[in-house]
């Protein structure tokens, strides 16, 4: 497996995302720029310039028409994927930490940070998909402040009106998108801050990663923990591999202690865990810093990881990956 190294960022990566067909890879970092790449050969299609702060988060709709990004310059922007033009910009009192499209592409949910006397807030916006996309409503259709611990990651759940959130305390919760009411919660899902949340293709279950060194698979409807993957390092990202029964976990020690630890100790590998048997089945190394974000192509034929070292590494799986049956006849078809 020869990875393709993408050097489009000058600072550490914050999030990477594949589009629905898996041919485009979006990456954002602390250097204010969003890049889009062709996943098959690593060619850069373009950049989305305009943010004036760390771009914390991105999401792309299922038609690869719109891209939404949230940044530390207190704006959330809507971009045209094809041209790189900024179509609309929403202003907030604080930084935008997480954005996500709904399954039908008609809504965006975003989390703004709790800072400077402002409470952390979750807002839901309707997206007008008619015309060129520049005519968006400024006001959210729904706005609420989750009480207790602040929300750090979010996504639309299996039904349109539910928002799934991961919190700083390790809580996982479901909120009603219109009323802001907490429908369901698992207070003890993790022991530490949740760093990533990615849903399965059908949104029936999801994986969370946490700094408490574990990743967990949850049932979306009941928020019950289905599986736990315990590693020896704080985790920054977790992804579910489609077509094969694996989950991918990435992490490493804190960025501040990177320079004082050796590469081997740093545990900067991407770990492959068996989704059902909860055992580690393989590792891929390569990054010189902690892995900040992992994304798997929806087709399951390639995955990418973005690190604190500023590189995105795109790996197209070898034939052996698809043939491998580490558990022999016990192997589970996804």
């Amino acid at each position: 497996m020869r990875p393709i190294l993408l050097q489009g960022h000058e600072r550490s990566l914050t999030q990477i995302k594949f589009n629905r067909e898996g041919d485009l890879l979006f990456s954002c970092s602390k250097d204010h720029v969003i890049n889009v790449w062709f996943a098959d050969n690593g060619e850069r299609l373009g950049t989305y310039n305009g943010h004036n702060g760390t771009v914390w988060t991105i999401d792309v709709d299922s038609l690869s028409r719109f891209l939404v990004s949230g940044s530390a310059d207190n704006t959330m922007r809507l971009w045209s994927v094809q041209t790189g033009k900024c179509l609309y910009s929403w202003e907030f009192p604080t930084a935008v930490k997480r954005v996500a499209f709904s399954e039908d592409d008609d809504q965006i949910v975003c989390i703004t940070e709790q800072r400077m006397g402002h409470q952390g807030a979750i807002r839901v916006f309707d997206i007008d998909r008619e015309g060129d996309g520049t005519d968006q409503s400024k006001e959210p259709v729904s706005f609420f402040n989750p009480t207790s611990s602040k929300a750090v990651v979010c996504a639309f759940a299996h039904t349109p009106n539910l928002i799934l959130t991961g919190h700083e305390s390790g809580k996982v919760a479901l909120f009603d998108a219109s009323t802001g009411e907490e429908v369901q919660a698992n207070e003890r899902a993790h022991m530490d801050v949740i760093t990533d949340l990615q849903l399965s293709p059908d949104r029936s279950y999801f994986i969370t990663s946490s700094r408490d060194k574990t990743a967990r698979l949850h049932d979306t409807r009941t928020l019950m923990v289905l599986k736990t993957y315990t590693t020896e390092t704080p985790l920054n990202s977790a992804a579910i591999a489609p077509t094969k029964p694996y989950v991918l976990l990435g992490g490493g020690q804190d960025a501040m202690s990177v320079t004082t630890t050796s590469l081997r100790q740093g545990k900067f590998e991407t770990r492959f865990w068996h989704k059902i048997y909860e055992e580690e089945v393989g590792r891929v190394k390569g990054h010189f810093g902690p892995v900040n974000t992992i994304a798997v192509s929806p087709k399951g034929d390639c995955y990418a990881s973005g690190g604190e070292d500023g590189f995105v590494r795109v790996h197209h799986f070898d034939e052996s990956y698809f043939r491998a049956k580490p558990y022999g006849d016990l192997e589970i078809e996804d």
Binding site: R2, I4, L5, L6, G8, E43, L45, G46, V281, P326
Partner: protein, 287 residues
């Protein structure tokens, strides 16, 4: 060739004549072979043969994906020609992903100390053994470092005849480790040229303690060896002029078994940043 530019030196022309022509052909299998002859940095002529096979990979993709491939570049890539740019896209070193059952996490990573130990073993320096407790660790890491180990005395080996010769100092390692002559079998130990003052006191079992620091006083040694049993006499060799220690001392015990145990426990032990050498005191040879 000669018509393109006037040659400055006749030697250049000859070089060019001698140089064989490069070859470049495509065989029936579609493999392009390029043969070049170049002069490398050391001035040697080398022939480079490169065989290139180009395989066109076809892929069936969605219409939307195919359409996206035709999109014009934008942003910082605006106007760039199609194809990956070497400045932003490079191919990394091949990495292995071997999927196998069994939790790799349970395999402990070798610590730095273990790596060092295995390196020592490989280098033929013998096993790492603690000088205090003979355990499989460095003396500095010994859990009994701060307390004299095994003072219960139950493990005291019986001692042989009264006039037994000095027991061999710490058996030399069986491996190829260097052993100084003074420590080899049959040698009488370091510092033996130092005269033993006070005449013969062979009636008391006496240990010769060498490699002690200059500042060591009688009382220090009494404290150290008193832990093993009654110490009858301590003599520290001193410089007659300055009074500073000369680095050796004699400690007499009342009981031979105690002396033996004290020697076993203290020989090779760190004391005042120095490693003590404790042996039986040899009676002065008759001259």
């Amino acid at each position: 060739m000669a018509s393109t530019a006037p040659k400055t030196s006749w030697a250049d022309e000859i070089d060019e004549l001698e140089q064989p022509k490069g070859e470049d052909y495509v065989d029936e299998n579609g493999i392009r072979t390029i043969v070049e002859t170049v002069i490398n940095d050391e001035g040697k002529t080398v022939k480079i043969t490169r065989k290139i096979k180009r395989i066109l990979q076809k892929q069936v993709v969605d219409h939307t994906v195919a359409e996206r491939k035709t999109w014009a570049k934008f942003g910082q890539e605006k106007g760039s020609k199609p194809g990956p740019d070497r400045a932003t896209t490079t191919i990394g070193e091949s990495v292995m992903l071997k999927l196998s059952a069994g939790n790799k996490q349970s395999e402990p990573e070798p610590s730095a100390e273990q790596t060092l130990k295995s390196n020592l073993v490989r280098a033929g320096a013998g096993k790492v053994a603690c000088r205090l407790c003979k355990g499989d660790h460095f003396t500095a890491k010994c859990p009994y470092k701060d307390s004299l180990p095994g003072l219960d005395g139950t493990d005291t080996p019986p001692f042989g005849g009264d006039d037994a010769a000095a027991p061999e100092p710490a058996a030399p390692a069986a491996g190829g480790k260097y052993v100084p002559p003074s420590m080899r079998n049959g040698a009488r130990g370091p510092g033996e040229s130092m005269g033993r003052p006070g005449g013969s006191r062979d009636d008391l079992p006496t240990l010769r303690v060498t490699n002690i620091s200059e500042d060591t006083q009688e009382n220090d040694l009494r404290d150290l060896f008193g832990a093993f049993g009654r110490v009858a006499r301590v003599y520290v060799g001193r410089d007659r002029e300055t009074g500073a220690g000369k680095g050796f001392a004699f400690v007499s015990f009342e009981d031979k078994a105690v002396a033996q145990r004290a020697m076993e426990k203290t020989h090779g032990r760190g004391y005042d940043n120095l490693i003590l050498s404790v042996q039986w005191s040899q009676p002065r040879e008759q001259r």
